[in-house]
Structures are given as C-alpha cells and as structure tokens.
C-alpha cells in the first residue's frame, strides 16, 4: 500500500470528506464548523463542497446540537455533530444520557447512528474552561461507543467506521494532537471500533494509555529502553467497549501495569481500566496497577502552574520505575 504523511487534523478531515461523499445521508454541523471550517480547521472545505444543508454552522446551543443530532439520526440521517470543546459537554449531557442513549434500548427497532465529535486535552494555556478531558462522563453512559484515537492512522480509519456504525459513537480528539503527523494509506481503509492496538512491544511493564498520553508513553518507553526497561504500550483506541483481551495478553507477559489518562484523577477512565484489569488479571500482577493522571485540580492558566497539572512523559517514567521495584 502506498502511504502518505498527514496530520491528525487532515486525517479527520479526509475521513469526513470521504464519508460525506460516499453517503448523502451524512451531515455535519456544529459551532463554526461551516464557513470557517472549525476553530481547529478540522472541517475545512467541507461546507464549500457539500453545501449549507449538509454542513452548517449552528447557534451556540449545545443541548440543541446533541438533541438535534439524535433526532436527525432517528429520522434517517447519519449526523456528525461537533461540540467544540469537551469542557462544555455538560450542557449536552442530559440529551446524551436521556435521549441519545435511551432511544435504541427503549424504543425498540430505532437506531441512532450519530457521531459526536469533540476534543479535550490541555497544554494549550487555555485555563480551566478550555482544557478538560471529561471522557469519564460519556464513558459512564450505557450504549455509547467511545473512541479516543492517538494517531492520524487510527483517527481517519476509526472515524470512517464510526460514521458507518449504527450506534451512537463519541469520537474524542485531542487538541494538541491536531498538528502531529503520521502515515496513512493513500487509498480507502478503515480501522475497526473496539480493537486495541499495541503501539510498542515490550516485556517488563504494560502501559495502557489514552489519546495524547500514548504519545507521551512512547517517549517514556524510548527513554526507559536506555535504562534497560522494556515497556509495552497498549492503546485501547476504543475505550468502550474495551478490547480487554489485548490488554490481558500484554499483562500476562509483563505482570506490571501503568494506566495513563489525562483527566482529573478521581473517577477517571483510568480508574475503571484499573478495576477491570485487576479483576481479570489479578494473578498475573506483581504489584498494584499504578495510575498516571492529572490531579483533582482545575487546570490553571499560568504556564508556571500548568506543569504541575499535566501528566506526561516524566510522570509515566516515574510510575514505570515504581512498578519495576516489584
């Protein structure tokens, strides 16, 4: 397969472009996604190509966005709706839990094939209202598939699968990943939902990392290699449903686990992965599963303070070394 180098941003743009071209029922809407092409320019060019009924800017009204996407999906479209920053997903959570997720289970025979695109993550000097990672809230809602790709390859292929899938899918991007580059095939391909991906093989410690934390974990793994520690980095890619088999296989080999998640520590997805892993792999574990997360603190603005909040390479290394004491 011929490969090409694209950014994470372009990869997502391509997926949207191709799926909208393939299927006239795919529509895309949200705040500033149309004329301007999105505040992160992810949806650039789509309105021009597909017109104002299929790609459009909306009023600032996140509950209506989520609800309208749900209704549109019920009535025959395949909407991709954008909530610009995950920080304000709270405005849409009632719609998500009481409409989107309720409908397929209770209203038998009705499907809700929508994709909720949003982005989280810090590191942008955005202070506490533009940097939160609240995937734990969405993750707790039954019937929603939750994906958090970390590479351009996964992002494109997975978004295409998400659009074609008949379940509501939350597709969570990371603002700091948009400019990162990676290889993707020239032609059509998809990445299946629900499959983890081993981003690096290793034998001493399994690091299960989400979204941008995969990138940080790979950096940590590289540095640890020099110290003679072999780290396996597993990226669940889809966090719900979780590909526990791939994780368990890795743990069987390494007997040590670090879970990395850029989110408030208490009640994070990292906790849930930890609970699941210890349940399934208890006898394989040499010591406790360690979690690298952000603290339970709002993300402060000052660059001098942001560093205390951010999880990343160094904290991951520390945790791996801690594990190695077992």
């Amino acid at each position: 397969m011929t490969m090409k180098k694209v950014t994470y941003r372009q990869a997502i743009n391509e997926a949207l472009f191709e799926e909208m071209e393939r299927d006239p029922k795919v529509v895309l809407f949200g705040e500033d996604v149309g004329t301007y092409g999105g505040v992160f320019k992810v949806t650039d060019g789509l309105k021009k190509k597909f017109g104002n009924e299929r790609v459009f800017d909306t009023p600032i009204a996140e509950a209506a966005l989520m609800g309208a996407a749900t209704g549109a999906a019920v009535a025959g479209l395949r909407p991709v709706v954008e909530i610009m920053f995950m920080d304000w997903i709270g405005i849409a959570m009632d719609q998500l839990v009481n409409q989107t997720s309720m409908i397929p289970y209770i209203w038998e025979g009705i499907k809700v094939p929508l994709v909720l695109r949003t982005q989280g993550g810090s590191g942008s000097k955005g202070s506490c209202q533009h940097t939160k990672s609240l995937e734990a809230w969405i993750y707790h809602v039954p019937g929603i598939v939750v994906a958090m790709p970390s590479t351009p390859y996964d992002a494109k292929g997975l978004l295409k699968s998400a659009i074609r899938n008949d379940n509501p899918v939350a597709f969570i991007e990371h603002k700091m990943l948009y400019p990162t580059e990676g290889e993707i095939p020239e032609g059509e391909y998809t990445v299946p939902l629900g499959r983890a991906s081993v981003k690096r093989e290793g034998k001493d410690v399994t690091v299960v990392a989400l979204s941008k934390m995969v990138v940080e974990s790979l950096k940590a793994a590289k540095e640890l290699e020099d110290e003679g520690i072999s780290v396996e980095v597993v990226d669940p890619v889809t966090i719900k449903p979780l590909d526990m088999d791939t994780i368990a296989e890795s743990v069987k080999k390494t007997n040590r686990v670090v879970v990395v998640n850029e989110a408030f520590r208490t009640g994070a997805v990292a906790s849930d992965l930890t609970a699941q892993i210890q349940e399934r792999c208890f006898d394989d574990l040499d010591g406790p599963i360690l979690r690298v997360t952000a603290p339970d603190v709002q993300v402060p603005y000052s660059p001098a303070l942001e560093q205390f909040w951010l999880p990343g390479k160094d904290k991951i290394k520390q945790a791996v070394l801690e594990c190695m004491k077992r």
């Binding site: 009924e53 289970y105 209770i106 209203w107 379940n167 629900g194």
Partner: protein, 326 residues
C-alpha cells in the same frame, strides 16, 4: 367555538379519538387505584382537545414528540392501543416490549417518536426530525408537544431558536395547563401567554383555547401548512386545564377550586359534542354509541395486556448496543 370546514368523517374521527383518549386515562387511573399498574402516572383527562386537535392535521409519516403526560397524545397520533397497553403494563406485547412503561411510550408505525419523561428534553430531538426532513427533501413535518413548565427549560429555548434559524419544518405545541407539578404558571413565568416568546425567535406564535378542538386544529393546520411549504417553524400555545394531579395520588389541595370548576365547565368533549350535534353532524345516539364503543376498545386492550406474557431476560439484554460494533 371555531368553525372549520372539515369532512364529517374527519370530525367524527376526531370526536372518537377524544373519547378513546378520555376512556384511556380514566381506565388507567382506575387500574392504578387498584394497584394494577406500578410506577408513576400522569393523566390528561380533560385535555383531549389539545392532543386530538394538534394531531388531526398531521399525516402518519409526520413525526411527533411527546411529553411525560403523553397517553392521549399517542392515541391522537393513531398509536395502536393494544401495544400501548402492553407497554403501560410492562408486557412483551408493547412496542418497547415493556421496557419503557408509561413515560416512554412510542409507536413507530405512526411515527409517534415518542414520549419523554425529561421535561423539555424531547424538543431538541424533534428539531432533529425536522432537520432530516429538510435535508432529505421529504414533505414531512415534526410536531413537538411540551408543557408550560417545560417552556422554561433551556433545551426548549435552544431548540426553538435553532429551528427558527434553520427554517426547519416543525410545530412547537405548548400544552399550557397552567401548572407544572404543584407550581402554578405565574410562579414559573412572569408572562401570561407563552406564545409571546415566539416573536423573540422570529417565528409566528399564537395562543388558542386548548379546550376547543377545532381552534387547536385550525392553528396547527396553519402551522403545518407553513412548515410543509418551507416557511419554517411556528409555535402554537393551547391553554387548557389539568384536571388530575401532578401524578397519581396527588390530592391537589394546592389547586384552587375555581380552576377545577372552570375546567369542568370547559370539558372539551362536551363542547365538541354539543357543536357536532347542533350542526347535525352527529346525533346524540351516535355520540353515545361512540362513547361506548371506544370504552370497549380500551377495556379490551387492557384485558389483553393483562393476560399478555412478561418480557424475559433475553429482552433485557436486547439492544444494549443498537447494532454490531465491529
């Protein structure tokens, strides 16, 4: 009372539906009293003209979004009484195979999609239906019922404004019975006619006597025609009386006697019958026959539902996800 030039057939059908709706709520009230239905119960006895008048201008393939006080609305839309009874009793014969119960009724055959126990929560979803109709170029319309209490939820505001901007084919049907649970309208809004809000969205808004089925019909018909013609949404406020409590078992000491007395004087079925008889459209004997026949329909439906089987564990696990994931 308004004059409308409708066929005898249509008028009699509306009259019949009003009786069906009335008998339904009287019947389930009785069952509830006997402990034969579990959970909450919101009755619309005395509000039949709103539901029937609002649904009469709609086609089967127009979509309706309902409230938590929705039985009559579904009957007005033409929902199958037998399946409804199944859902009300949690039986496998219901559309939801018993999963939804009294507050989540739906019937996809007539596009009653569907009830919502979250006050105001369904309205954005109904905007999504209208979005799909516009994008797909069908001539369907969407009609969203909501209460006077619901009008104060942010979701309703966002939805109305969204639809107005996008000129989606939707009717916002406010069923104003002047109460939200135990709280009178004047403690929920400082405005008499909620239709005044329409102007703030740049859409037409009218207030009609919600106990006059023909007045409701007329106002909604105009709004439906507008919507089908591509002229966008309208709001129709129907002022009516809530003759039952906030739920079952509520003794309504907080409701002024005068309100209930006036509501009794304005019984919508009596008013409509008088008119039909005066105009020679119906004889009193025919009216009594319809009253009796519709009662039997309800009785039979509930008798059958009582004897229907319960859903089993396979139903519980069905549609946890709406579709295959990978």
């Amino acid at each position: 009372m308004s004059e409308v030039s409708l066929s005898r057939e249509k008028l009699v059908d509306m009259y019949r539906k009003m009786w069906l709706a009335r008998h339904h709520d009287v019947w389930v009230e009785d069952m509830k009293t006997k402990g034969q239905i579990l959970g909450s119960m919101h009755l619309a006895t005395g509000q039949e003209a709103v539901s029937v008048g609002a649904c009469a201008p709609l086609n089967d393939d127009d979509y309706t979004m309902h409230t938590h006080r929705e039985h009559q609305q579904l009957i007005a839309k033409g929902a199958d009484i037998g399946r409804m009874a199944g859902d009300m009793l949690g039986k496998v014969t219901g559309c939801a195979r018993g999963k939804g119960g009294h507050m989540l009724l739906f019937d996809k055959d007539v596009h009653a999609l569907g009830a919502c126990g979250i006050v105001g929560g369904g309205v954005p979803v109904a905007v999504g239906y209208a979005m799909a109709f516009k994008v797909l170029g069908t001539k369907q319309v969407s009609l969203a019922f909501f209460g006077d209490g619901a009008a104060n939820e942010g979701s309703v505001h966002e939805a109305m404004n969204f639809a107005a901007v996008r000129k989606y084919p939707i009717i916002f049907l406010c069923e104003n019975n002047r109460w939200g649970l135990t709280c009178p309208q004047h403690e929920q809004a400082a405005v008499e006619d909620l239709a005044d809000r329409a102007r703030g969205y740049g859409i037409p808004g009218v207030t009609v006597n919600g106990n006059d089925v023909l007045a409701v019909y007329e106002a909604v018909k105009l709004a439906v025609d507008r919507a089908r013609a591509g002229d966008g949404p309208s709001m129709v406020e129907c002022q009516t009386w809530r003759m039952r409590g906030m739920g079952f078992g509520d003794t309504m000491e907080y409701v002024p006697k005068e309100y209930l007395e006036e509501g009794s004087r304005q019984d919508p079925i009596c008013l409509f019958e008088k008119k039909l008889v005066e105009k020679g459209i119906l004889t009193v004997e025919e009216a009594r026959a319809i009253e009796a026949e519709t009662k039997k329909t309800i009785e039979d439906a509930y008798e059958a539902a009582k004897n229907a089987p319960n859903p089993d564990e396979s139903v519980f696990w069905a549609n946890v996800y709406a579709a295959e994931i990978c």
